[in-house]
């Protein structure tokens, strides 16, 4: 008898590839983004099948949820700010097309060859990690790797987020002058009920990360979803005077992470070498602060512009009229 789970895996794999093709070929950009979101959910399901629930969580929350919202916001901007004459796309010369095809083919073949040649299912770092789990301070291997064994990677990752928000604030300046969308009374009741519930779920994910799939990035992304909803429905409107608090929140995670990493060197240890008896406390402290930073940063990346009062636009910012 054929194992039904193999059929499921095959169907899921075909669906993932088909959706990738579809989101690249659909004419309508809105449909392409919807298809991309579905593609993200399907890849997360596939990663669950590969027993990577942490990555599935991160992909669903950050790679699909937040990215989908960012793409939509940009599509909305591109569609509302209309251009008088959209330029005709230039024809691509035949030689360039052939060169591109050859480049893509070679790169893919290289990746396939590397995949076929690499030993699969062989021992990797899993045995090393399993041996070192007792000194990590947490019970979940992925959290141990992220926050302890390879903590410098994670610190750099938080720095990348910080750099991104600095860049985005510089690229776009000024207040949002779009009116609030009319979402109606049902939505308001829903928001009252669910926004606190989402905060609870985000905090739960952060807390559960020390012993089960979850952690700072997943929790932070879920909390960022609250920020997204607040911004979308104009329940919260960023003001120039909020910039100070926002800046503190952006830097909080990176600062705390780096400070802890350096302060533990006091007892003759390496940077990031947490003393065993305090390891769990320190990791939870870092994770908590990093979660706040991630949540605020992702929401700010979605909002996109530094809330500066520009002289010519400052008048048209009536936001809170849907409350």
């Amino acid at each position: 008898m054929i194992d039904t789970m193999v059929i499921f895996d095959l169907l899921l794999a075909v669906a993932v590839v088909a959706l990738a093709v579809a989101s690249m070929t659909t004419r309508d950009m809105f449909a392409a983004i919807v298809l991309f979101v579905v593609f993200g959910l399907l890849s997360a399901l596939a990663w669950v099948r590969l027993s990577a629930p942490d990555v599935a969580l991160a992909e669903a929350a950050i790679g699909t949820g937040v990215t989908g919202a960012l793409l939509l916001r940009t599509l909305h901007h591109v569609q509302t700010v209309e251009r008088k004459a959209a330029p005709e796309p230039l024809p691509v010369p035949m030689g360039v097309q052939i060169a591109n095809a050859a480049f893509c083919g070679l790169l893919t073949l290289g990746l396939a060859a590397a995949f076929a040649g690499a030993p699969r299912g062989g021992p990797g770092f899993d045995l090393l990690v399993a041996d070192a789990m007792s000194i990590s301070g947490v019970d979940h291997p992925v959290t141990a790797v992220l926050l302890n064994f390879r903590a410098y990677d994670t610190l750099m990752e938080v720095v990348v987020l910080l750099a991104a928000v600095i860049a985005v604030w510089q690229i776009e300046r000024g207040l949002s002058d779009a009116p609030a969308p009319a979402l109606g009374e049902v939505w308001q009741g829903f928001a009252r009920l669910t926004l606190p519930a989402i905060v609870v779920v985000g905090t739960y994910l952060l807390w559960v990360g020390s012993s089960a799939p979850g952690g700072a990035f997943q929790g932070g992304a879920v909390l960022a979803a609250v920020g997204l909803l607040l911004l979308l429905s104009r329940l919260y409107v960023p003001r120039p005077s909020h910039r100070g608090a926002a800046r503190v929140a952006f830097v909080l995670g990176t600062g705390a992470f780096a400070a802890v990493a350096l302060l533990v060197t006091g007892g003759g240890r390496m940077p990031f070498e947490y003393p065993l008896e305090h390891a769990k406390t320190l990791i939870l402290l870092i994770e908590g602060l990093v979660t706040i930073s991630i949540a605020v940063t992702l929401a700010a990346l979605f909002h996109g512009r530094e809330p500066v009062a520009l002289p010519e636009r400052a008048a048209g910012t009536g936001g809170r009229d849907d409350a």
């Binding site: 997360a44 939509l72 909305h76 569609q79 009116p179 939505w187 429905s233």
Partner: protein
């Protein structure tokens, strides 16, 4: 039991993939969104079943996040397309 649940998973996945035809056909943004919503719910159902098949209770948390995120993206879709195109 695992093999039976696997069969159910195949049926669920095939069914919602069929529903995705709506995303292509449209015609309006609302129709495309609806197919995505059906898909999100089915993904939650598949995760619930998978948590049983793979004996990973942590997948229930993943299902929770899927449910939350599906709702958030949907609201984003509606809010951003509602005041989208000028008349």
């Amino acid at each position: 039991m695992t093999s039976f649940l696997g069969g159910i998973l195949v049926v669920l996945l095939a069914s919602v993939l069929g529903g995705l035809v709506r995303v292509f056909r449209g015609p309006g943004a609302a129709d495309r969104l609806m197919a995505a919503q059906l898909f999100g719910t089915a993904a939650v159902a598949m995760l619930l079943i998978l948590s049983q098949v793979m004996a990973m209770p942590a997948l229930l948390d993943v299902a929770m996040v899927f449910a939350l995120l599906a709702a958030v993206t949907l609201v984003a879709f509606v809010a951003l397309s509602a005041r989208g195109r000028p008349q």
